[in-house]
Amino acid sequence: RKIIFEKQWFYLDNAIGHIYGTTFEVTNGGNLQPKQEVEETTTETKEAGTDNRNIVDDGKSQKLTHDDIKALKDKGIKGQEIVQQLIENSTTFRDKTEFAQDKYIKKKKKKYEAVITIVKPSTRILSTMYYAREPGKINHLRYDTLAQMLTLGNIRAGNKMIVMETCSGLVLGAVMERMGGYGSIIQMYPGGGPVRAATSCFGFPKPFFDNLHEFPLSKVQSLLSGTFSTETLPSDPEDNALVEEESNGLPEEKQTSLQDAEEEPATEAAMEITQTEEQETMDINAEDVEFKQNKEKENKENVREKQIKQFERRKKLMETAALLNEKNADGLIVASKFHPTPLLLSLLEFVAPSRPFVVYCQYKEPLLECYTKLRERGGVINLKLSETWLRNYQVLPDRSHPKLTMSGGGGYLLSGITVVLDKGKSDSSNSEALKMEEPSPKRCKVQDLHC
């Protein structure tokens, strides 16, 4: 299978068997070859200039043309050699300052040296990559914000967690990594089924998934009101084309079609149908008996398999509903494209008192409303609305400075702790005290114009 990454294409076959962290070179044929350790020749005193006052950037300082470089590549010359050639054929290279020379070499190496390092996946790597390359798929959840969520949510082995996310399964994966296979997770999902594209990238061992459950959001109200049944279900996602990725910005056309809840027969009726079909196979034309029998056997097997699967799904759903109904989850994590308020108000019902919850939202305003509604509801303390400001630095001798500012781009968090909800009195009496208005304007005297 050909992989294309950062304008390089190659086959992964030769990587198998090597340990994580091995660095490879991409050969001309697109194969990977472990890179030899090259001794850096640093002892030569480099000829360099002091500043750029005499360097004219006219685009003509490189004597090698595009064709020349292509010819070198076609000859099979290694990237390192090409960079060396570029340096030797640059009229301005030796006039550059040492720093400028380093920067030039680094830039050319990145372009011409096809070097790949394969690393073991982790939350750190996946969250950084998703934020850099597909932020839309994770609602622009920046990796430091995700780190805050794991800490504020006290995610740890042994917890019973409720997770509701539309971040391709990245948040779910981060939670699973922290829990190390201990405890349990119930993932709430919109539409026909949970999206776990990113989760599968973590490479968790199979046992991690034994205690991962899922439950459709569309059944939450019925569960809370006590009218839950497995009669009408979101259609089995395997029946329809597999929805692999959820596009957070686009209308969910695929999801709504999956949502059309088919009226599915109860388990007993399903068994009846199998029996009627068995009877039907008796009355068939003798000529194509064998062909038809084989075909129908196949169909019967498919149908039976499908029915067994449905039965299993229903059973699992009942079990998950029971887990939720215990209302003793150790925490709640919400990170989705939906407005957070209705999610929080309903899902908090399943969380035990004295437990943390964290809600992520790309925008601040919905969390302001959420905060207000939670105050009205009561049963929460330590409400905190926050964001993290992140700044990267370049640290080099005599060249240290901040690299770029990413403040304001990482999303917002609302966190708190549940307490026993005294249904008798809500926090409405407190919300008055919490409303801080700007001090009222001085009463204006008729004569005073400066009020």
């Binding site: 993290t388 917002y412 409303k435 700007e438």
Partner: protein
């Protein structure tokens, strides 16, 4: 750099139940207090406290750590020891320092010891208070002015009255996430790297 043991508790929470924390503190009393607290909190089986100078004598273990965290005044002196405490491949190191000069020395040491992916950053937590704010609507006068008053005549008592009463009438309310008046601007720089 155990210190108060605050970070140690967070790390223990994260690696439980199968992981282990080795923490080194050169101040004897602080080391003893930390040990006592771990016992009180029922986590002593998950942590080993060592009372020594990590810069001179290392962590007391080798080639086993998935990650090393340094919160000490001279982290560059502990980089070599950190490297030997770390597992053979893929271990991570993080150093926390308030001053950029410390960061520069540490980055240099990391490079010399062959660490890769060296990266320095800082993170600030910004907290917002949720408040309902009322802002006044200013009086911009009336579209249709009387011809008799060419401009605003401040000496005219009737004008004064209407100006003030308008100011008190119009307000707009909205919810806002208001930053705190003073926030923490800096605690320290975090430098991460990989042992490869």
């Amino acid at each position: 750099g155990t210190g108060s043991g605050s970070l140690s508790h967070a790390l223990i929470r994260t690696v439980a139940p199968t992981g282990h924390l080795y923490t080194v503190e050169f101040h004897q009393q602080r080391a003893e207090k930390a040990q006592e607290e771990f016992r009180e909190h029922g986590v002593e089986h998950l942590v080993t406290v060592t009372n020594q100078d990590v810069c001179k004598n290392g962590f007391g273990v080798s080639n086993i750590a998935d990650a090393v965290f340094l919160d000490i005044p001279s982290p560059w002196e502990a980089i070599g020891h950190a490297k030997s405490a770390l597992k053979a491949e893929g271990g991570r190191i993080c150093s926390f320092s308030p001053c950029i000069e410390q960061v520069q020395r540490t980055c240099l040491a990391m490079e010399e010891y062959g660490f890769t992916e060296i990266n320095t950053l800082e993170i600030l937590l910004r907290v917002y208070n949720v408040r309902t704010i009322s802002l006044q609507i200013p009086d911009l006068g009336n579209a249709a002015e009387d011809n008799s008053s060419a401009g605003f005549d401040s000496s005219d008592p009737s004008n004064q009255g209407s100006l003030c009463s308008n100011l008190q009438q119009g307000t707009v309310q909205f919810k806002s996430g208001v930053p705190l008046r003073e926030m923490v601007g800096h605690t320290g720089y975090l430098t991460f790297a990989t042992k490869s």
